[in-house]
Amino acid sequence: MEIVLKLLNNYYYFVAMVLFVIGFHTMLTHSNLIKKIIGMNIMDTSIFLFFVAIGYVRGGRAPIIQEGAGYQYINPLPSALILTGIVVAVSVTAYALSLISKLYAHYGTVDADEIALIRAREER
């Protein structure tokens, strides 16, 4: 019961973890490379969700200063971090996709297992 309550209180963290596991699992188990990259994106966004949830102050407002208002703001630092994180994630995605299309040109498939098979056959 206690655990359920704890979960209810921290449901953002919980959802973030669930998404992380889904993303991680997709990345590890699917042999399709594009699927892997989507999994990577899910994994990354889940961590960003986690970050945002850390910075969230209940009842706080977005950290945009307006004159003369005494609001309580949410922590802006995680947002700054996530922005950087998104940049990184997008660049990795883009790079991975360009690699994948080149791999397709060479192997005719985007499936990691099939590529490994082709490689194994070649080396024999």
Binding site: V15, I42, T45, L49, A53, T93
Partner: protein, 80 residues
């Protein structure tokens, strides 16, 4: 209370989307669902007060990333 309900709805939508992305075999569909996932994620972030992140995610996760995925898939195979 309403806000909390909306939260739950959006979060469960996220999970459903994520699982759907993982399970669906048509890559284009997966990418579209992923775009929806990104948009919902952007909404959640906006609700959490991180509007900077939300706008970036909306532009990138739902926009450019999807373009890139689709461009790649159009050059390669569509089904897994």
């Amino acid at each position: 209370m309403l806000v909390a309900a909306l939260d739950f709805l959006l979060l469960s939508f996220l999970i459903v989307c994520a699982i759907a992305v993982a399970r669906i075999r048509d890559l284009i569909s997966a990418v579209i669902i992923f775009a929806a996932y990104s948009l919902v994620m952007a909404i959640i972030w906006q609700m959490l007060g991180a509007s900077d992140v939300a706008i970036t995610e909306a532009a990138l996760g739902a926009g450019v990333t999807t373009f890139l995925f689709i461009a790649t898939i159009s050059k390669t195979k569509r089904t897994e």
